[in-house]
């Protein structure tokens, strides 16, 4: 049914916690408990180490690639409470920005849709979610949602950039009024939806369908229907929540999704 078409030996000295392909599937970023983030060029079934990024002081939990129109940018988050944004400039990777505003391990990072510019959501064990927006000239604007999840936030995922009522044609030439939304999952067993209104982030909905910690969440891409699909999974078993008429299979085609599977 499936075959291994390539194996990349990352040479990480400790447990790997995340691996992500870039937008086109040509580069692979990995992160590990050995505190490093590595980037490989994996075109044509090969593996060439492009960068070995050191800057974290604890296990690195997740990495996320930004949209290529902003250049080659990668975000990483770690147990050391830091979020680091790396950028490739003139062929070499360097720290572009370091955020230390959390009081505890940062567990998840996710870039927003490119229509919103360069904006990163970070979920932390201190229960807060922070949103870092690049405003130009090495400046980042920070907005924090404190106590988003009581014991800690484990995962964040952005909704696609769609305009409310987008099924109706927008008059051309007008800049669309996007609504920024994302979903988060936490140790309080809840999945929460967040919406930005008048520059402030507010809790839009709360979904109580899990009996244990929510480990990961994913928001399916939009195909123009008036409903949305979110998938979430929990420590105990795998669940899917749909509040739409989507069947599971077509959503899975496109979901960027991490599943907590135990191999038997």
């Amino acid at each position: 049914m499936v075959s291994v078409i390539n194996t990349v030996d990352t040479s990480h000295e400790d447990m790997i916690h995340d691996a992500q392909m870039d937008y086109y599937g040509t580069r692979l970023a990995t992160c590990s408990s050995d505190r490093t983030v590595k980037i490989f060029d994996v075109r044509n079934g090969g593996q060439i180490l492009v960068a070995d990024l050191r800057g974290h002081e604890g296990p690195v939990w997740q990495v996320a690639w930004a949209h290529p129109m902003f250049g080659n940018i990668l975000a990483s988050c770690s147990y050391d409470r830091k979020v680091i944004i790396w950028k490739e400039e003139n062929g070499s990777w360097d720290k572009m920005y370091e955020y230390t505003g959390h009081e505890s391990s940062v567990n998840s990072v996710c870039w927003g849709p490119y229509e919103f510019g360069l904006i990163l959501a970070c979920g932390s064990s201190d229960g807060a979610i922070s949103l870092l927006t690049f405003t130009g000239d090495q400046q980042w604007d920070v907005k924090k949602i404190s106590n988003a999840h009581t014991i800690g936030c484990n995962a964040v995922s952005w909704a696609p950039a769609i305009v409310p009522g987008s099924l109706i044609d927008q008059p051309s030439g007008q800049k669309p009024n996007y609504v920024k939304r994302f979903v988060s999952g936490g140790c309080d067993n809840l999945v929460k939806l967040w919406k930005e209104e008048d520059g402030q982030w507010k809790e839009d909905q709360k979904l109580e369908a899990h009996s244990d910690w929510v480990r990961d969440v994913g928001w399916a891409p939009s195909i123009g229907l008036p409903t949305s699909t979110i998938a979430s999974c929990s420590q105990v078993r795998f669940d899917v929540i749909t509040n739409a008429e989507h069947a599971i299979y077509s959503a899975f085609q496109h979901l960027k999704h991490k599943v907590f599977i135990q191999a038997f």
Partner: protein, 640 residues
């Protein structure tokens, strides 16, 4: 919460050992897995450093099948353009011919694959078998009479080994004594190829002169078997009567023990009567239950109606497959076809095959024949579109086949466009040529968001590689004012540093694109100034230079450079700037110096730099004053 159609299948990942936690991420077209450990607090311990890229065993990666995808794409597009207004009746032959086209493509592929071993050949065989049956039952929709003839053709096409064996027998020294002789004869009978049977029996007949009359009798029976002629004048009822008479005659021969002394001829006689037990005795020669079905119908009920098929199909399958063998997916699919349950056929094929090619194309064709009920699925799209979308999405992961997928999306009216928008952004833009190809596709379909996104990506990439000209033209195409401004600044910086412009062609031919950003406009106009100066059109150059400052097109940071550019014009023997223009220049200079506060001493600037600036200003003031004097004199002089 909705129910799922079938339980999600469990996929075993070969590379991960038992008992470990598995990390997982989607890549475009494949998945990444790695061993890891999830624990509430920071997990550590020895880990495995391997990351595995896993892909479904899909056939799109096979080079031979690529031909299948390419050619079927061609047929697909042709099918979509068949005009809707024509009544269905006249379109049926067209649809049948298209169906045959698809099948010939499959067969061509099979022939090529014969050399290469593997599963694919048998899968293609099965696909062609199913498609052929669907063509007979659904598209051609043969009525009783013709139906059996088509089914007979179908079986004969898919049991080609008979001819091979026959050839072997006939080419031997004494065919009638060949050990396969009777097997071949019986196989021909089972397929209703009675002419061939008669030819073969002649050889046996000559060997046994004593039994000549028996062979003659058999030959007569065989020659008299009626076959329905759809194009003829005989009605189905008339044919049925004739056939019954013949059947009775054969039965009489059997009852009379006419063939009792020859075991083989008696078997043939029983087969002609459609005797079940005799037929089942020859399971090996029949090979499959559907061959058994068709043979049985041929010799028991040649006027079978389409609606009666499924009774016979079900019973034949049960009889043929004894308790030991289990029905395979192929059997279920064929059975569903005999039951005219199109949706079941499609559903079973979707589950059994690991590639959407077959179900997508077949369903599309059936949809055009108006055979699919509008079966609204949960995701708001119809069955045809769903399958086409799945197939095309799969193609998109391939480095060259993705272009075929575009046409498929184009013909999915509900979701095709949005799927295309999502997928086309992920095509890697390794070369500028490829980027332009992708761009053309987006522009043709007015996908302005994607156009902008791709142009921005290419502009950023060009800028990183210091190809300013390319970056500028991409940002103009993206209508990205901010980026254009950034790049224009870089151009101007380069000019200040090196004294020349790079990418002159581009800047000279900006045209209306110049208006995209102020800085870009300035860049264009400044270059124009240099051109005018080079062509010695000094008056025009002077006018332009001045307007750059007075119309505030030039950023103030650049004014010093502009004024310095004015120096050679001021120093010319001939007076170029008019008095008024000179006043304006002076005004600009004053504005600049007062805002920059050059003349005032500032402690934080290095002495040398300040000196240079002060000297420049003094030079300018002198030149301006001299020019003013000359201009006033010139303008005040009356030419006599």
């Amino acid at each position: 919460m909705e129910e799922v159609d079938v339980e999600p299948t469990i996929t075993n990942i070969p590379a991960i050992s038992d008992g470990k936690h598995m990390g997982f991420a989607w890549g475009p077209g494949d998945i990444l897995v790695y061993e890891t450990l999830y624990k509430a607090s920071g997990a550590s311990g020895s880990g495995c450093s391997f990351i595995h890229e896993i892909r479904k065993d899909e056939d799109i990666y096979s080079p031979i099948l690529r031909k299948l995808f390419n050619e079927s794409h061609h047929i697909f597009v042709g099918l979509q353009t068949i005009r809707e207004e024509l009544p269905s009746k006249s379109k049926k032959p067209q649809f049948v011919s298209i169906s045959k086209n698809y099948r010939s493509v499959i067969r061509a592929c099979m022939e090529e694959l014969q050399q290469v071993a593997g599963n694919t050949v048998s899968i293609l065989l099965a696909i062609e078998l199913i498609w052929n049956l669907c063509e007979v039952l659904f598209i051609d929709a043969a009525p009783a009479g013709s139906l059996l003839l088509h089914l007979l053709d179908w079986v004969r096409l898919h049991k080609a080994d008979v001819d091979e064996r026959a050839r072997e027998v006939l080419q031997s020294e004494s065919p009638a004594e060949h050990h396969d002789y009777w097997d071949v004869v019986v196989s021909y009978v089972l397929q209703g190829r009675l002419e061939e049977v008669r030819q073969m029996l002649v050889k046996q007949g000559t060997l046994q002169p004593a039994a000549r009359s028996m062979y003659k009798q058999m030959d007569t029976l065989l020659s008299k078997m009626p076959f329905y002629n759809p194009g003829g004048t005989q009605t189905l009822t008339e044919f049925d009567v004739k056939w019954r008479h013949w059947h009775e005659e054969v039965d009489r021969c059997l009852q009379d023990n006419s063939f009792a002394s020859n075991r083989h001829l008696e078997v043939i006689c029983k087969i002609l009567l459609g005797d079940e037990d005799t037929l089942l005795d020859h399971k090996e020669l029949l090979g499959t239950w559907y061959h058994f079905l068709v043979t049985r119908l041929l010799f028991c009920h040649p006027t079978v109606k389409p609606t009666e098929l499924h009774y016979y199909a079900q019973s034949c399958m049960t009889m043929f497959l004894d308790s030991r063998s289990v029905s395979e997916p192929l059997d279920n699919i064929l059975l569903a076809a005999f039951e005219f349950d199109i949706h079941q056929v499609i559903k079973e094929c979707s589950i059994a095959l690991n590639n959407w090619w077959f179900v997508a194309h077949l369903t599309d064709l059936l949809d055009h024949c108006k055979l699919l009920q509008s079966h609204n699925l949960h995701f708001g799209s119809n069955l045809r579109e769903f399958l086409l979308l799945e197939y095309a999405s799969g193609l998109f992961t391939h480095h060259s086949l993705w272009q075929l997928a575009v046409d498929y999306f184009d013909h999915c009216p509900e979701f095709g466009r949005v799927y295309l928008e999502l997928q086309i952004e992920r095509v890697p833009l390794e070369t500028e040529r490829k980027a332009l190809k992708v761009l053309r596709i987006c522009e043709q379909r007015q996908m302005s968001e994607q156009v902008r996104s791709i142009c921005k990506i290419m502009a950023m990439r060009a800028l990183r590689n210091n190809r300013l000209g390319s970056a500028l033209s991409w940002s103009i195409r993206a209508k990205d004012a901010a980026f254009a401004t950034l790049i224009s600044e870089r151009f101007l910086q380069d000019y200040c540093a090196k004294g020349t412009f790079s990418d002159l062609d581009l800047i000279d031919n900006l045209g209306p694109a110049m208006l995209l950003s102020d800085r870009l406009t300035f860049l264009g106009k400044y270059r124009e100034f240099h051109k005018l100066y080079g062509e010695k059109r000094f008056r025009e150059a002077a006018k332009l230079l001045l307007s750059l400052m007075t119309a505030k097109i030039a950023p103030q940071s650049f004014w010093m450079t502009l004024l310095t550019d004015a120096l050679p014009l001021l120093e010319q023997k001939e007076v170029i700037f008019t008095a008024d223009q000179t006043y304006e220049l002076m005004f600009c200079l004053e504005e600049l110096t007062s805002s920059l506060n050059i003349t005032a001493s500032s402690t934080d600037r290095p002495m040398q730099e300040e000196d240079v600036e002060v000297t420049k200003v003094e030079l300018l003031r002198l030149a301006l004053a001299r020019n003013l004097a000359q201009a006033i004199v010139k303008e005040g002089t009356v030419e006599t």
